[in-house]
């Protein structure tokens, strides 16, 4: 895989448009790529993941399915085994329970069980996250669950450029890749606008290698390791704290599998202070894994105990004030950074 280094023209795109652009470019490039899922055709994807693709590529390649996740994910697996490159959308990450067997027992294990003789080059996309009162069954992130189960890469873009570059890399990857996009970063017209969901995106081919974290903001005092929408929140807080003398480094993990442990170690090696922000559940999750990355290497790297800001092991509440109380929002992130920096 090559990273495009040459200077490129850019335009400002929303995350969803950047994601769609990558899919369209790969579909132009490779006949074996197709996209299927619920409401991905005329509707264009509930979260605008396929807007305009039906008109461009037709119903043979942008395929609306029945609400039968087990059947159509399995269909993607079988097609991938036969050398096609399907992109399969599960509308909400929350729905993976109805089809989890196909995901973790089949999609993720066939390559291993076959001793490397069978490849499953498939992308499984799903929308994650809350913050808009959609309740406990429509607001989960669950990326920790997928990252825990071996055999699939798990990528979680936070920015428009990464949404494009990681999607391109995911489609070209010979492994199953789960591509989890947070509704709050997509720049959807019917959701509160996040200023960071519209950014410059390189024209033409743009690849972001899977497994390489991004330093979203350089800083010297405290490392914040995070991903997805929480990157935006962490950057907001970092900008607020900078004039007050707290220089925050923000690491955007970009992918959970593989996890760029080197980037975490390098940053904490510099700052000695760590806050992990994760919109997934607290226990047994990403935040513990990130901290273990440090403590496995050398707990002495940390000059103060690390802190974790995550959903405190509770289903996501419906009522706005309750939901905001459990999500990792600016106030909780700021308090953790201040406590750690102090």
């Amino acid at each position: 895989m090559t990273i495009t280094e040459a200077p490129q023209a850019t335009r400002r795109l929303t995350t969803s448009k950047a994601m769609v652009e990558a899919i369209a470019q790969e579909m132009e490039r490779d006949e074996s790529v197709f996209y299927l899922g619920e409401d991905v055709g005329a509707y264009g994807g509930i979260f605008s993941s396929t807007t305009g693709l039906l008109e461009r590529f037709g119903p043979e390649r942008i395929i609306d399915t029945p609400i039968s996740e087990t059947a159509f994910i399995g269909l993607g697996i079988g097609a991938a085994v036969e050398g096609m490159r399907p992109i399969v959308e599960v509308m909400f990450a929350d729905f993976m329970g109805v089809c989890l067997d196909q995901i973790y027992n089949h999609m993720a294990k066939i390559h291993f069980e076959s001793g490397g003789n069978v490849k499953v080059p498939m992308v499984l996309t799903m929308a994650t996250g809350g913050g808009y009162s959609d309740g406990a069954q429509h607001s989960q992130c669950l990326w920790g669950t997928l990252a825990h189960l071996p055999g699939m890469k798990v990528v979680v873009p936070s920015s428009p450029a990464d949404a494009k570059g990681l999607m391109t890399a995911a489609i070209r990857d010979d492994n199953p890749v789960v591509y989890m996009f947070h509704k709050g970063v997509m720049g959807l017209p019917w959701m509160a606008k996040n200023p960071r969901s519209i950014e410059e995106v390189p024209d033409g081919e743009h690849l972001v290698p899977i497994g390489k974290a991004r330093i979203a903001r350089e800083g010297s005092d405290v490392t914040v390791v995070t991903l997805s929408l929480s990157v935006h929140h962490a950057l907001d807080v970092a900008e607020k704290l900078a004039p007050q003398g707290i220089d925050v480094e923000v690491i955007d993990l970009r992918s959970l599998v593989p996890l760029d442990r080197e980037a975490i170690l390098t940053s904490v090696g510099k700052t000695g202070r760590l806050v992990v922000v994760d919109e997934d559940y607290l226990s047994y999750g990403v935040s513990a894994e990130v901290i273990a990355t440090i403590t496995d290497q050398d707990p002495g790297m940390l000059v103060v105990p690390p802190r974790r800001i995550a959903v405190p092991d509770v289903p996501i509440p419906y009522a706005h004030d309750l939901e905001y109380a459990v999500l990792p929002r600016h106030d909780r992130i700021e308090a953790a950074i201040r406590a750690t920096a102090g």
């Binding site: 399995g74 993607g76 096609m84 066939i110 291993f112 076959s114 055999g151």
Partner: protein, 348 residues
């Protein structure tokens, strides 16, 4: 996709309760069906022998040259032989946790399959899969240890075959217990709606581990369920390889012609336990089971037709034995995987 089939024009297909008369098969085909069944049975008898050879003292499931659960398909050979006779290595088969007869009938390499069952480096999956997880890209064969979950991937294989403009098909096999799973119904609906070239096969051996079909399933014939999806359904009652061959011939031809999927249920026989070590204390039909063994019955029929005699039968059985013993020797001499490679092959 959506342009390829229209629900309003899809006729509701009748379910055949009794199979139409089977066309007369050529002597070569009849002998071949017998040979396939004999090879499968010979294979499983040898696996049985090796499996139990070193499980003692007592019975320790994790011990021995062949460790773990072992589900043998003795009694179900007519399904595999009858269906796979219509397939080439270009066609796909997805089997169940009881896969050996189907793998053998579909032409999976006997040596590599055996080495996999023995957990050896020379196995289909280099010892990572085991007997419930056989993957052979050469014959597009795979199986799954999870009930009904082999059906959905078959849809994708069929989709890919058609997308490439071929007449290749996928055959998806489950047991009768799987017909109560969501994956079964989702797959029938989707395959029917998209007219995918799939043949769905249900092996009704009467038992979902210890629970009889009558206790688990609301209707007597899972073939009737095909009508709910507008596709042909056919139940074969007598575990006869020629009846299976005939029904599969119709379903395969329909799939290859682009007319969509069909469902075949065969009332077959689980001759032995659900797994080796299963005492079958729950089983009410054990007295009559040996008399229902389909292989001696077919052998007698072919003798009567003048196609087999003692010498030919001995020849077929000897040939099967030498192939099986060769495979077992291959497996035993294949290296045990290096423990330091246990984490290999998670990613490509």
């Amino acid at each position: 996709m959506t342009t390829e089939a229209s629900p309003s024009t899809t006729p509701t297909m009748p379910t055949a309760r009794t199979s139409p008369e089977a066309p007369e098969l050529s002597p070569a085909t009849r002998t071949q069906l017998y040979e396939t069944m004999v090879l499968s049975r010979t294979y499983e008898e040898a696996i049985l022998r090796e499996y139990h050879a070193d499980k003692g003292p007592g019975f320790d499931i994790g011990k021995g040259l062949v460790p773990g659960e072992m589900h043998l398909s003795a009694g179900q050979e007519p399904v595999a032989a009858g269906v796979c006779a219509h397939l080439s290595a270009d066609d796909a088969v997805t089997a169940t946790h009881r896969p050996h007869h189907l793998a053998i009938a579909h032409g999976v390499d006997l040596r590599k399959m055996t080495a996999e069952i023995f957990g050896r480096e020379g196995g289909l999956g280099r010892g990572r899969g085991g007997h419930m997880h056989l993957f052979d890209p050469a014959t597009h064969f795979s199986c799954s240890g999870i009930i009904a979950e082999g059906y959905p991937p078959a849809l994708g294989q069929a989709f890919a075959f058609r997308r490439r403009g071929t007449d290749r098909i996928a055959v998806a096999v489950t047991g009768e217990g799987a017909a109560n799973q969501g994956g079964f119904h989702e797959s029938l609906n989707l395959a029917a709606r998209w007219s995918l070239p799939v043949v769905f096969v249900v092996e009704d051996n009467d038992w979902g581990i210890s629970v009889p079909r009558d206790v688990a399933t609301a209707i007597g014939s899972n073939a009737d369920r095909a009508s709910a999806y507008g596709i042909p359904g056919e139940r074969i009652e007598d575990n006869d390889v020629e009846a299976v061959h005939a029904a599969a011939g119709r379903a395969v031809a329909r799939a290859r012609a682009g007319e969509g999927p069909s469902l075949i249920e065969v009332h077959t026989l689980r001759l032995w336990g659900h797994f080796e070590g299963d005492a079958q204390g729950y089983r009410s039909d054990l007295d009559e089971v040996p008399g229902r063994d389909p292989i001696p019955a077919y052998e007698a029929r072919l003798r009567e037709a003048g196609l087999l005699d003692d010498a030919r039968i001995a020849e077929i059985k000897d040939d099967a034995s030498s192939r099986v013993e060769d495979a077992i020797q291959f497996a035993k001499s294949s290296p045990i995987p290096d423990p330091t490679t246990a984490t290999d092959y998670v990613f490509a």
